[in-house]
């Protein structure tokens, strides 16, 4: 951690190489994170680059209240979500977990016809990872973010609450909701008990 602080300090003094050392420590994780948000390699590449550049530009606003890593995840999350929001304005995808409101104001679960193949075929088609990614993509952004940070990046609840700037209670409930939605979908495909 001290080393990171030192590198941040040196970067602020104009030493790009110090920043590149920070990049080396995090590039794989940031890329993995962006890949989960964006769902494809090209976008993941662009968003990771963007995240590092943005972090570099706004490094002065990093006050060291959290670790540099947590801050960087936050920057990356924002870059990706901004991009997704920007695209959403053009295409409106169906969300899996956002309930539909009925005329009476009650919420009902959406029934999205699931055209994905059954477990055996999935394995045969070697599309399992893509299948999970597709399910992740259908989650609400908040839920997706929380579950990706938890289960893909293995961050603690405290770290996630820092990245998302929300309470641990909110983190718990978002993860719980996201998992429940995914679990139900996967159980239908008999990939889970």
């Amino acid at each position: 951690m001290f080393q990171e602080e030192e590198l941040v300090k040196r970067t602020l003094q104009g030493d790009t190489k110090a920043f590149e050392e920070l990049v080396q420590q995090y590039e794989s994780k940031i890329y993995a994170l962006a890949y989960r948000y964006m769902g494809n390699e090209d976008d993941a590449y662009d968003m990771s680059q963007e995240a590092f550049i943005k972090a570099y530009r706004s490094l002065r606003s990093f006050k060291g209240h959290s670790s540099f890593g947590t801050w960087l995840y936050r920057v990356t999350t924002n870059v990706c979500l901004d991009e997704l929001r920007r695209r959403k304005r053009r295409i409106v995808p169906l969300s899996l977990d956002e309930p539909l409101a009925t005329r009476e104001g009650d919420e009902v679960d959406k029934e999205i016809p699931d055209n994905t193949p059954t477990a055996d075929i999935l394995y045969e088609q070697k599309e399992f990872s893509q299948y999970i990614q597709d399910l992740l993509d259908q989650l609400k952004p908040d839920h997706k973010t929380a579950i990706v940070l938890r289960d893909v990046l293995d961050l603690s609840y405290e770290e996630i609450s820092e990245v998302l700037n929300c309470s641990i209670g909110t983190v718990k409930s978002r993860i719980s909701r996201a998992r429940e939605t995914l679990r139900k979908k996967i159980v239908e495909r008999e990939l889970l008990p």
């Binding site: 790009t16 794989s28 989960r36 590449y45 070697k126 990872s129 993860i175 719980s176």
Partner: protein, 350 residues
């Protein structure tokens, strides 16, 4: 206690972030409710599944691209604040020198360049930093940097300070960059490579003890002279079942046999077979080799090389050897099949 009251606690329970009191509530309920037990098991497996999702490797040129963008950023971000503006002519010379030195230091500090395929060995060391490939800088130096006589020799560890005032003596009389006879950047040789693919299998095995099973996989690998990678083998402990990962590199004709043997370890999922296109990696190696060779030939064909040029020639020859090694390793590598084995403990045996 009814299921609805307990449901919201199951996910935090799986992550072990519930309080003592909540744990007791959950466990008391699980003892009597098959449905919720099943759900907990499902959540654990889901978590493990997500944790093991295969993300593509970081594309090889990532650091280089970023490096270039950062240099651009630096000039706008730090430039105006840091650089005092002396007389225009010497300012230009100083900047050219500073950039050349900076590039030299960057390139030489990461040479010998890390290997594209060395990742396989490197993964054994979790903390090993990813090598940056500074080849572009090297090429840039050769193609695009005008020679300045006062440029510090490559490899000299002088930190260029953009804020440092320019000493007239340093640039006096030689502020004009010396022109190299054929200063025009050469055309980058175009290289076409055949599409190349690499195969991998991913399998998940439910085992009693992930540690013992990892050892068994290692024994199996060692007995057959198979190389293995244990960077994922440190145990990830959580209620969602302890898990470890290990990867094997096997010959194509060994795949079925090895997969068959792994079944002895426990309940095994049908392995997922993935084919990854690795043409890009080959393309990059070939392109770099072509560029390096072109640059080398150009220098080698020149008469009366300066000391600096001779150093470059040596560097280039060294680089060519390195990249040929990489190419050989890459070829060998793509003929092999990777088997990723995820050992997941049956976490919930109440």
């Amino acid at each position: 206690m009814r299921c609805e009251q307990i449901k919201d606690l199951l996910s935090p329970y799986v992550d072990e972030v519930t309080s003592e009191k909540e744990n007791k509530m959950v466990e008391a309920h699980l003892a009597v409710c098959t449905e919720c037990r099943k759900e907990v098991e499902g959540l654990q497996r889901l978590s493990a599944m997500l944790g093991k999702l295969q993300a593509p490797d970081l594309p090889p040129g990532f650091s280089d691209d970023l490096h270039r963008r950062l240099l651009e950023e630096k000039t706008t971000f730090f430039g105006p604040r840091k650089i005092r503006q002396p007389r225009k002519q010497s300012w230009i010379a100083a900047s050219v020198a500073a950039v050349a030195v900076a590039v030299g230091i960057f390139a030489s500090s990461v040479l010998p360049v890390g290997s594209l395929v060395a990742w396989w060995q490197d993964r054994d060391k979790e903390q090993t930093r990813k090598p940056s490939v500074a080849i572009h800088d090297l090429i840039q130096r050769i193609y695009e940097q005008p020679l300045t006589p006062d440029v510090t020799e490559p490899g000299t560890s002088v930190i260029p300070d953009p804020a440092a005032p320019v000493k007239p003596g340093n640039t006096g009389g030689s502020s004009e960059p010396v022109k190299v006879a054929d200063n025009e950047p050469d055309k980058v040789p175009s290289v076409q490579v055949q599409p190349r693919y690499s195969d991998n299998y991913t399998t998940r095995i439910f085992v009693q003890d992930a540690g013992t099973s990892t050892d068994k996989v290692i024994q199996l690998a060692e007995a057959r002279g198979i190389s293995y990678n244990t960077s994922g083998a440190q145990e990830i402990t959580s209620l969602s079942g302890n898990r470890r990962s290990i990867a094997l590199k096997v010959n194509r004709n060994q795949v079925d046999e090895v997969l068959g043997q792994l079944k002895d370890l426990g309940e095994t999922n049908a392995p997922l077979h993935n084919t990854i296109e690795v043409t890009d990696q080959f393309q990059e190696v070939e392109e770099n080799l072509a560029k390096l060779q072109q640059a080398r030939d150009k220098l080698a064909g020149k008469e009366g090389l300066s000391a600096e040029e001779q150093t470059r020639l040596q560097e280039l020859n060294g680089e060519i050897v390195e990249w040929n090694k990489k190419k050989a390793a890459l070829e060998k590598d793509s003929d092999m099949v990777t088997i990723n084995i995820n050992l997941v403990e049956n976490g919930f045996d109440h």
